[in-house]
Amino acid sequence: MADVCSINNLTRCLIEGGMNPGLANFISILLGVVATATLPLVTVIFLIWVERKIAARVQDRLGPNRVGPWGLLQSVADALKLLTKEDITPLGADKFIYNLAPIIAFASIVLLWAVVPFTPLHVGANLAIGALYFMAVGSIATIKVMVAGWSSNNKYALLGAFRTIAQLLSYEVPLVLALIVPVMIAGTMSLQELTFAQQGMWFVFMAPVAALIFFIANLAEVGRAPFDLLEAESEIIAGYNIEYSGFKFGMFMAAEFMHAFTICVLTAVIFLGGWSGPFVHELPVLGFVWLGLKTAVVYIFMLVLRATVPRVRIDQLMAFNWKFLVPISIVNLLVTAFLLYVVRALGLTPAPGQEYNFVANLPQTIVLFVGNLVVVGVVVTMIRNWARRQRLGEEARSLALVAVEDENPAAITLPAGH
């Protein structure tokens, strides 16, 4: 292995080749960064095509099919078109931060890729606090919205920005609460070690509720359907980026597509075992393939969701978060903490050295899974009771209306208290 100069031992090779250690280190870091950061950029060009194609199929259309084979080069053509479009800056705009906003938008998404583990050996930065890094970079997204909305000097942009910020802030709460669960199970925040911990059993089986909440909250963070009301044309024209044109608008759009892809990767890493799969330790590059497959499954699920679900209203959006997702994620956190404690007290955790064994992980997985099922069951029952009460109330009201009509057909009024 010492003779082969691969990316894994590049630093050592360069030093042995007579280079200054500091410089060699820097060069290997730089190469790693460029490789990691270019990957999402290249992928997103392809993914826009995938998205348009799938949306078209769901809606019984053909989708892009003119530029290149099967329309594959459509995104490239779009990018070139945006590059030659005039870039208009509104007169009242705050020039510097107006130009800064699309850059922040794009950079904040690229930054997420610094901690994604691709294979057992290839990871950008194996930060010990990787999960929180993800949260921190995510919170920069609110800054970009605020800056874009404010600097455009447009009422619609500002209103859209405020709505968007309210949405992003709200959905960050269930997101973090759901993220605590895998951290608690694995006892680590490093994404690479979280993946290692899932070699025996994926966390989606140990914490299905947390996985679902994580995915839904992330959908809202990206602003994907059914949570895409930050670009609701009917209400706020196009949201915070209304005054942007040309490639600056393209930056916002590319950032959104990239964000959507990135959250699929992170869902796959945190809950679906990341690169773990058969033969991954014999051939590390295989991890890349497994990760890609899992990401693709999540991504296609998201696309079908986008093509089939209607948009929610803003009061429904807020109520759904604060009165449904947040309470459930708190209860889920409590239940998981309690069950983990019980599991450990009963000695159902895998014996040392058996952590990556599927069978050894089964007992605790079953306990946690049943616990999650109970949570879901209770929630579903509560919602059904609530809905029944609502329905009975509606029926009683309409019956009262009919009764009033029968007694005095001339005076059709709503019953008192309405």
């Binding site: 931060i97 606090i129 929180l132 921190a136 920069i140 609110t142 800054i143």
Partner: protein, 174 residues
């Protein structure tokens, strides 16, 4: 003195962010710009935390200050329409304040920091350990009955109380 390496370079860069951002905060008329300067300054503080091997605090700094407090300040600026009536930036005592601030800095630097912890100071740490407690240790310390469990619970209580108080104060009374 400062030796020249990557860490020193990063330190100087982050210090520039911190102090430059802070100077922007106190001198800018436009409050939204001031908030952006505040974000820059707080980001620099997060960078300094990373250099001091406290990555958890650095990330929390970004999440709490930049992600939440800065946004809250923007909301407050918008709600109070502070942007529309930009009157005088400073009050009548600004000159005295500037003198006080500069004097305080000189006093701290010359009187306390350099003699006590400076080069050949009275209590300059001679050798700095490379072993640093990590976040797991922090987690244990926060809920250890002999350490910080009481402040930990009180923190939760304080935040709950602050939220209740702020909601009561900020809402329109129907």
């Amino acid at each position: 003195m400062l030796e020249f390496n990557v860490q020193t370079l990063a330190f100087l860069l982050f210090s520039l962010f911190v102090l430059g951002g802070a100077a922007g905060v106190v001198t800018t008329r436009n409050l939204i710009h001031a908030t952006l300067y505040l974000i820059l300054s707080l980001f620099g503080v997060a960078g300094l935390f990373v250099l001091m091997s406290a990555p958890f605090l650095a990330v929390v700094q970004v999440v709490v200050y930049i992600g939440a407090i800065a946004i809250l300040i923007v909301f407050a600026v918008m709600l109070t329409r502070s942007m529309t009536r930009l009157r005088d930036l400073y009050n009548h005592q600004w000159a005295a304040s500037a003198v006080v601030a500069v004097l305080l800095f000189v006093l701290l630097a010359v009187g306390v920091i350099l003699p006590v912890w400076g080069v050949n100071g009275a209590q300059t740490p001679t050798e700095v350990s490379d072993v640093v407690a990590d976040t797991v240790e922090l987690g244990k310390a926060l809920v250890d009955r002999n350490q910080y469990v009481l402040p930990f619970e009180l923190a939760s209580l304080l935040l709950t109380a602050a939220m209740i108080g702020a909601i009561v104060v900020a809402r329109d009374d129907e």
